[in-house]
């Protein structure tokens, strides 16, 4: 909704940002053609999952936390499982570790493909939704659906079902697949690899706003493996810490206009960026050389600092996840046991894994009987929330002369660069412009 300019003040309010994963709003105030304020408001009622976990058995955390998100339940399960195993002094290796990585590949493929094709692509191609886009680009949308389905198939096999999977447990899985079951997946993945390659090329040909940011990229890092389930927490500014030191370097702050906590780095209180662009920047050398070449061919530098190009980075990560899934399947020898025994031990455990949207940190304190006494969960969208505001603070001035409707459109696109769990309803936003 637009009002005439009054006293040179324009206020762009996006009143309703979400439906299921969360509810939020965007507020942008412009005075005398100068951006004065940006706020990303999340007013989703707190879900008290951390409180719900207290008093429950340590073995229940994976299934309880997987309910936090229908898009990335594997990430919640894996962070919870690794934190509990850390508390109990257990490391899971070999085929079970490989299967967990395969499970995560499925989630990356499914989640990234949903975002790339169904949520973000319409922004770039000028459509209000994937449904409208499908009428003009049926082959493109079908490619996305087929690719996503392959990710779902992996999650189904390893997790028992694709949404809120139930097969992962502290110590491993309840059931592990036979080689024959993975062979069926292999055939699908070979086709998916072609689709993923096409996706990278296609995404590289989209038009991107000319916008670069000097990000602090934070992600997991391992010596020779693109990170999913484990690693040290690093940044491109020299941070290199064990997961157990997370709380010493990062802080959740309450802001009065949002129910979600804002995460900042200590001691300066600055924003930081988690997600595909951070992983890519901190781990480029861990990608196979042929995937590095495909990324370069699609226009990506070794470090990508244009957040709108995150769609290409996601496509590269889908290609990597498909390739990695094939590698794991080809090397798979079923383990003798589907899980290792994990006995509870009083103490605190830490786990961080790379959810599709970025670093997902869990910390639990359990007693000698395995009862959870304390829990802390820091999702990637909380960590990116302040970064999204910072992006808008820098991006809106580049288009401040454009009509309010256009500012709203590109601002929503900028928010969706992060694939936040509040991105769902940005297509349904109401715009209110108060020109004061």
């Amino acid at each position: 909704m637009s009002d005439p300019h009054k006293n040179g003040t324009r206020t762009i309010k996006v009143d309703y940002l979400a439906r299921v994963e969360g509810e939020g709003a965007m507020y942008v105030r412009i005075r005398d053609n100068v951006l004065e304020d940006v706020k990303l408001k999340i007013f989703e009622p707190p879900r008290f999952f951390e409180g719900l976990l207290r008093g429950r058995a340590f073995t229940e955390a994976p299934d309880i936390t997987s309910r936090i998100c229908g898009i990335c339940p594997v990430a919640y399960q894996m962070s919870a499982i690794h934190a509990m195993e850390n508390a109990c002094g257990v490391r899971v290796e070999g085929a079970l570790r490989a299967l967990r990585r395969l499970f995560y590949c499925g989630e990356w493929i499914s989640s990234h493909t949903l975002h790339v094709y169904m949520l973000h692509a319409p922004d770039f191609l000028g459509y209000p939704s994937a449904v409208e886009m499908a009428k003009d680009y049926p082959e493109t949308v079908e490619r996305g659906l087929a690719l996503k389905k392959t990710g779902n198939d992996i999650m189904n096999l390893l997790g028992g079902r694709e949404i809120h999977p139930v097969n992962a447990r502290v110590g491993g899985f309840y059931r592990v697949p036979a080689r024959a079951e993975l062979s069926e997946l292999r055939e699908k993945l070979l086709h998916a690899r072609e689709l993923a390659l096409e996706t990278v090329k296609w995404s590289g040909a989209l038009d991107f706003p000319d916008f670069e940011q000097d990000y602090v990229f934070v992600s997991l890092k391992q010596p020779s493996e693109y990170p999913m389930n484990e690693g040290r927490i690093v940044s491109n500014r020299g941070l290199d810490i064990d997961v157990s030191d997370y709380d010493a370097h990062f802080e959740e702050q309450h802001v009065d206009y949002s129910n979600a906590l804002h995460c900042v780095m200590k001691p300066d209180g600055l924003s930081y960026h988690v997600g595909p662009m951070a992983r890519y920047a901190n781990n480029f050398e861990c990608l196979p050389s042929d995937i590095q070449d495909v990324a370069k061919g699609a226009g990506l530098a070794r470090v990508c600092t244009n957040p709108f190009q995150s769609i290409i980075v996601r496509a590269v990560e889908v290609l990597y996840a498909v390739t990695e899934a094939l590698r794991i399947i080809d090397a798979y020898e079923p383990p003798e046991e589907s899980s290792v025994t994990v006995k509870p031990k009083a103490g605190t455990g830490y786990g961080a894994t790379e959810a599709p949207r970025g670093l997902l940190y869990h910390r639990y304190t359990i007693d000698a009987d395995g009862v959870i006494r304390d829990a802390n969960i820091v999702p990637p969208t909380s960590q990116n929330q302040k970064m999204i505001e910072d992006d808008l603070r820098c991006f809106v001035p580049t288009c401040i002369d454009r009509p309010d409707e256009e500012i709203q459109y590109v601002s929503e696109q900028a928010i969706r660069n992060y694939d936040p769990c509040i991105s769902c309803a940005t297509h349904f936003l109401k715009l209110e412009v108060d020109r004061g």
Partner: protein
């Protein structure tokens, strides 16, 4: 993909209160449907949904809805002829759920020739809750309605 000419899909999440409605209707129908009719439960994930109804000539989707109506109100939509009204496009994962799967299939020419939606207005979708009394009452009505419809279909084909 299904080999059955008629497919009944109970959509929902058993652990989210009234969202379990579709799954529970599918439970009740499973042992009672005639030969050639397949009855499944589905979580509503769009790509999977579009795949499961491929090859089926007649599809009935059953789901709980949240449109603001009175709890227990039953809605019928002939999706082969009409889109679901805007007020039903609310609850989905990342705004991409059953209505979007239907419209995407329509845009791609992959909608079954006969596809109907039976929705029942839910009251509460909280984690771990049971089906509310208003919906428990409607479950038998929906099951009977579908069985009668299948019977009429059989007679007309006989």
């Amino acid at each position: 993909m299904t080999q059955a000419s008629t497919l009944i899909v109970g959509i929902g999440n058993r652990y989210r209160g009234d969202d379990a409605f579709g799954c529970m209707v599918a439970d009740d129908l499973g042992p009672r449907v005639p030969k050639g009719v397949k009855c499944i439960e589905h979580d509503g994930e769009p790509a999977g949904l579009m795949e499961c109804w491929q090859g089926a000539a007649n599809v009935i989707l059953i789901d709980a809805v949240s449109s603001g109506a009175e709890a227990g109100q039953i809605f019928h939509f002939d999706l082969a002829r009409q889109a679901m009204p805007e007020e039903f496009n609310l609850y989905s994962t990342h705004a991409f759920g059953v209505p979007q799967a239907v419209e995407l299939a329509r845009a791609l020419g992959k909608l079954p020739p006969d596809i109907r939606f039976i929705g029942v207005e839910g009251k509460s979708f909280g984690a771990g809750e049971e089906l509310s009394p208003a919906l428990s009452k409607q479950k038998g009505i929906v099951v009977t309605e579908i069985l009668n419809s299948l019977q009429s279909q059989e007679k007309s084909h006989a």
